[in-house]
Structure formats: C-alpha cells, structure tokens
C-alpha cells in the first residue's frame, strides 16, 4: 500500500470513529440535563397499518402536548420533567421495527418505549425492549403470547385477545335464550386464532354447540366457500380477523342472504369505515377496546374502590376533536393516549425515571382512567398482561334517515342502547 493510501484509510477511519462517538450525543442533548424524559416509538405511517398506526400516535401526541402544557411530570425530588418523543416510520414492517427500536435505545437514548400498532410489530419490539432493559408500554397489541415469554418490562394496555369475544356469548344468551348453534369463521393469524380458541372453549362451557369452526388464510378475498358451509339453523356467526377480511366476509354474508340472530366479528365493526358496507353492516356486533360513549367516571371508580386518574371521557374526546379537525377518536387513539397516561402515572408514583422504580410502580398500578381500568398481571407466567381492562361491544343501528351509527350494547352497565336481532335479509 502506498503512503497516501495509508493516510487516506486512516483519515476515513478517524472520521467514522468520530461520527460513531459524537452522533448519538445529538439525540440525547435535551434528555440528559434532567429536564426531559425521552419516550421512543415507531409508528406505521405507511404500509397496511397506516390508519390504525396514525390514530394511535395522534392519541399519544395529544397526551404529550397536555402534559407539557401543564409543565411536565413531577418527580419525588421536586423537579419537573418535560416529555419529549423520538419517532420513526416502521412501514408496518417487523424487521424495520427491531432495527429502529435498537436505534431508539442506543442512538436516541430513549428512557421509555411505547410499542408500535399491532400484535406482530409490538411482539418484535418487545424483544428489543427487554434485551436492553427498557420499560415498554404496548398499545394496539392484544395477543396474549407476548406476555408469556418471561419478559419483565413489557406492559399491555389492551384487553388481551383471549377475552375479546367471550362477552358476545354472554350477550347472545341474553338476546335469545333459545340460541344453541354457533358457527365460527376466523382468520388464521396469531391474534384471531388466540381469540377464537378462547371463544370456542367458552361457548362450549356455556352449553353452545359449535357447528362450524373454520380458519381462512390472511388475505382471503372470496368467502363464498366458507359461507356455503354454514349449516342451516345456525343461531350466531362469529369470528373474523382484521379489517379487510372481516368487512369482506360481512358483505358476502349479506349478499348471500345468510340470516342469524347474531353476527359478532373482530376488529372491523368498531371502525367508522365499517359503515361503508351499507345495509350489510346493520346489526353486526363487534368488540371494542374503547368507545367515546363508555361510562367510566370518577364516581364509578369510587364505587369500585379504585382511584381515578387523568381526564374524563368527555374531556378526552373534546380535546381530541379540537386537535384533530373534529375527528372522532377511535379506540386506537384512546389506546395511544392511555399508554402515555399509564407511563405518567407510574413515573409520578415512582417519583423517579429509574427503570427499577417505575417497574415497581407499574406492577402495583390499579387505577381507573377514561380508558377503563388498568391493572397488570405481576405473576411470573403472565407478567405484564392486562387484567383490569374490559371490552365493550358495539352494534350498528340505522336511523330513520338511513344513516348508520353504532351504540354500545354490552356489558349492560356500559350500554347506551339495547342489542337487537338483525332483520331478515
């Protein structure tokens, strides 16, 4: 090697080293002076999870704005920390998620993490959080399995998948005590399978006969073959998966004039876009993590012997609509806000930003918020699993002007309307 070549190599090496040493410092500059806490997350701003991912982040940003407007989060030593966020677009892609969370921790020096939307992406991010000993609040992620892997620092905001549709069975018993036969058609992904396995077990325990139990692949567009398989005399059709397949299934059930006393499906029905299905959506029931009409209140918390924390349902909805062009907050938005709120509560209780102290506060947390009850399983087997929060069930109604709207129909304590049997098709 010639002399000038050696010098060139050395210059380049030094330059690379310099970048490696100094670059990470940039992200941390604001966080280290003790006046701010950095929360890192990725959001699906593009790709197939764009809608849900964006709503979740809108909820989170609203929380952050409100906390900072009030000065920040107060610690035990009397100091107040502002909240800062670092975020990236994960393109709804698992591999990107792991790469970006590593970056959030190492380069951006995030103190706490929030998960991306969806069980799959959150599961991918949780591995990194645990590996680098950072607390992560997951939101938009319902699968149970993430919390059965022995993680100690991952906490779930959503009601887990195993409790997603069981309430629909209770509702069916109320709607028609004579109903006996349930058909289950579901997407064969992790989340939906978790849901329907628990649903099937619960239905059978309650004396129902599961007359059809069929899975379809993610991305299925033609459900005719499944619909043709539904035996006549079926009382309820349940299952589904995610938005795309579930709304297609709903539409084809309608077009094929399939009648049942109850249609209860995952994920799609609570979405405002579900009304695009027109008549096909009428009477369809779906579980939701949260709806603007829920009845959680400080008085309710008192009656249940819990402490209330954060804004009321009405305050949240109004602030959200004000910030985002009068858009109705969906449960994704509420989940994003709730994740921030949970973290705020735990930091305040711990009075510190140290991982160990905040973890202890999270383990002991048991509060009611606008989003519902928050309590985590702190056993070794299911650490971090959400055990306080309950689903609500919505049903699609039609007003005399022909416009479709949804009401909460279950549980009875939270209901804003009485459930009805869909009209004959």
């Amino acid at each position: 090697m010639k002399k000038w070549q050696i010098s060139l190599v050395m210059v380049i090496s030094v330059a690379i080293l310099a970048i490696a040493v100094f670059a990470p410092g940039n992200g941390k500059a604001a966080g280290k002076d003790g006046k701010s806490v950095v929360i890192g997350f990725t959001a699906s701003k593009s790709g197939k999870l764009k809608t849900e991912g964006t709503r979740q982040i809108q909820g989170f940003n609203l929380w952050m704005e409100q906390v900072n407007a009030k000065g920040g989060i107060k610690l035990a030593d009397g100091s107040v920390v502002k909240v800062e966020s670092r975020e990236y677009d994960d393109e709804s892609n698992k591999d990107r998620v792991q790469e970006l969370y590593t970056r959030l921790i190492n380069n951006d020096k995030a103190d706490f993490l929030i998960s991306p939307y969806s069980s799959g992406l959150a599961d991918a991010a949780a591995v990194i959080a645990q590996q680098y000993k950072k607390i992560m609040i997951t939101t938009g992620a319902a699968s149970d399995s993430t919390y059965k892997k022995g993680y100690t620092l991952v906490y779930q905001t959503y009601t887990p998948a195993s409790r997603y549709l069981t309430g629909a069975i209770d509702l069916l018993a109320k709607l028609d005590p004579k109903a006996k036969k349930v058909a289950i058609i579901h997407e064969k992904d992790k989340f939906s399978t978790d849901v329907v396995n628990s649903l099937k077990a619960y239905a059978e325990r309650k004396g129902y006969q599961v007359v059809l139990f069929e899975g379809y692949d993610s991305g299925t567009t033609d459900f005719a073959a499944f619909i043709n398989k539904i035996p006549s005399g079926t009382d309820a059709i349940m299952g589904g998966g995610h938005f795309a397949d579930t709304s297609t299934l709903t539409r084809q059930l309608y077009e094929k004039k399939i009648n049942a006393k109850m249609f209860a499906f995952l994920v799609a029905p609570p979405e405002p876009k579900f009304a695009e299905l027109g008549e096909a959506c009428l009477g369809v029931i779906g579980p939701s993590q949260w709806e603007p009409g829920v009845k959680y209140s400080p008085e309710g918390a008192k009656a249940a012997g819990l402490s209330w924390y954060g804004p009321t349902v009405k305050e949240f909805e109004e602030a959200y609509r004000k910030k985002y062009n009068n858009e109705e907050p969906s449960y994704h938005s509420a989940g994003g806000y709730a994740a921030g709120l949970i973290l705020q509560r735990a930091i305040e209780k711990a009075g510190s930003l140290e991982t160990d102290k905040v973890k202890k506060a999270l383990d002991e947390l048991k509060d009611m918020t606008f989003y519902g009850v928050v309590q985590f399983d702190n056993t070794k087997e299911n650490h971090g699993l959400q055990i306080g929060h309950e689903m609500v069930y919505i049903q699609w109604f039609k007003n005399p002007q022909g416009k479709f709207y949804k009401e909460i129909v279950w549980p009875e304590a939270a209901a804003s309307a009485k459930a009805f049997v869909p009209p004959a098709r």
Binding site: L49, D217, A225, S247
Partner: protein, 285 residues
C-alpha cells in the same frame, strides 16, 4: 352436501370469467410483443381504485363507470408503453421484465403515499337471486356478464376491424407486417393499451364483488400467470377457459380441504402443465 357443491361451483364459475378477463390482458400483451407485464397487478388495482373513487365522489354507478375505467386503462397502458416498454421491446426479456416491474413499484408507491393501505368498499350491493337452494349474488352475475361482454368486444375487434387485424399481423410476424406497411410501433402501443384496458376493467369488476386495498391487484396478477400458462400464453380464448377452470377449482377445493391448499393445488397445476404441455391447453403445438 351436493347443494353446497353446486353453490360453490356456481360462485367459482362466475368469478372465473373475471379471472379470465384479467388474464386475457396479460396474455394479449405477451402474444403481441413477448413482454411479461409485471405492472399487470397495479393496473388491476387502478381499475378498482378508479371505480371506487368515481362511485364515492361522483356517485357514478360502478357498472357504467366501467367505460370510463376502460378509457383510463387504455390511457395508462399507452403511457406505460411509451415511458417504459418501447425502448426495451427488442432487448432480452429481462429488460422488459425489469422495466414493467419498476413501473409496478412506482405506481404502487404513489398509491401507498396518496391512499394508504386502507380497505375500500364500493357500497353498491344488489343482493342475491335464489333459485331453489341455489343462491347467486347479483354482483357476481353482473361481473361475469361484464367480462363476457368485454371478451366479445375483444374478439370482434381483433377479427373484424382493420386495426385488430393489424394487431394480429404484428403478433404473427412483426417484420413481415412492417414490410406490408403496418406501423408496428403504434400497433404495439395500442396492444399494450388494450391489455391494460382489460386488466383495469377486470379490476373494476372485482371491486364490485370484493372490498379491496391497493395491494389487492397482486394476487390477481399471480392468478393471471397461472391462467395464462394453463390456457396457453398468447391465446386470449385459452385465457378465458383457464380463468373458468381456476374459478371452478377455487370453488371446489375449500369444500374438502382448508383454503391453505388452494395455492398448493393451483401452482401444482401450473408446474404440471408446464411439464406435460408447455404450450398450455389451447396453445400451439
């Protein structure tokens, strides 16, 4: 049991016409210029999106809107041809393959940026007809009719008009056609336009049956490949018959097997046909 079989076969059969129409677009382009159009899927998606947007914002009936979608498909095809295909048409297949793939990625990227991955649904339901135990959804019936209509148009155009004959002449032997005074560049562009017209119309028909996302064109592009090989690449009638065969299979398989087996059987058939009869069922020997 047999009622279920008849119902599923009818559903599959009707859908098969639409598959056939989509595949015909791919087949035509291959037949005339030996280009495998990897932008086929996004052109199908364009047809879906156009139908949806026209219905949502302008209230245009999705079946009438099909004529506009056809014009749009033709225009899109001409633009793609001029921009990406014309220069590489005589180059090895890999060049045109990559060029159309690039177009595919560009259009998909634009759709993703503008519309996102949301599910869209054309809320124009016509219910279903019941004939005894047989239950036929009207949207499928109309889609099948629409597909047949466009097939007939294509046939009449190719066999009874001067331009159609020119397309067939270029397809047969480009040099000889040029020597006879046929402007091959224009004919090739038109053929590409026609191919994408068929794909866009197939997309419009699919949008009346199924809700879709911007990624929905992909699976139909794959099906089109299978169908083309089944029916014989470059033979539009073969594409239609291949489409019907695939539709019937898709109706039939899920009765006895989990749907995961559908692609296994489909692509198994694809390989078998390639091995046993490489020119396809109706292809030239």
């Amino acid at each position: 049991m047999w009622q279920q079989v008849v119902n599923s076969l009818t559903d599959g059969f009707l859908l098969g016409f639409v598959y056939g129409l989509a595949a015909m677009g791919l087949s035509l382009i291959w037949g005339v210029m030996q280009v495998i159009n990897l932008a086929h899927g996004v052109i199908i998606t364009s047809g879906m999106l156009a139908t949806y947007l026209m219905f949502l914002h302008l209230g245009i009936n999705p079946y009438l809107g099909m004529l506009l979608v056809a014009a749009l498909g033709l225009g899109l095809g001409l633009v793609i041809y001029a921009a990406a295909v014309h220069r590489v048409i005589s180059a090895p297949h890999l060049s045109s393959l990559l060029a159309t793939f690039a177009v595919n990625m560009i259009i998909l990227g634009i759709f993703n940026a503008v519309f996102g991955g949301d599910q869209n649904n054309v809320d124009y339901s016509l219910g279903s007809l019941s004939l005894g135990f047989l239950n036929i959804t009207v949207s499928r019936l109309l889609a099948a009719l629409g597909a047949v209509l466009f097939c007939v148009f294509l046939y009449l155009f190719l066999y009874f008009t001067r331009t159609g004959k020119a397309i067939r002449a270029v397809s047969n032997n480009r040099e000889a056609a040029e020597l006879m005074g046929i402007p091959s560049a224009q004919v090739l562009a038109l053929s590409f336009g026609l191919g994408s017209l068929l794909a866009a119309v197939a997309g419009a028909l699919i949008a009346t049956i199924f809700p879709f996302t911007i990624f929905s064109g992909g699976p139909f592009e794959l099906k089109s490949f299978v169908i083309c090989v089944l029916g014989g690449l470059g033979n539009p009638l073969g594409a239609l018959i291949g489409g019907l065969a695939l539709g019937l299979l898709e109706g039939l398989i899920p009765i006895w097997m989990p749907t995961s087996w559908v692609p296994v059987v489909e692509f198994g058939l694809f390989v078998t046909v390639l091995v046993v009869r490489p020119s396809g069922l109706l292809g030239a020997k």
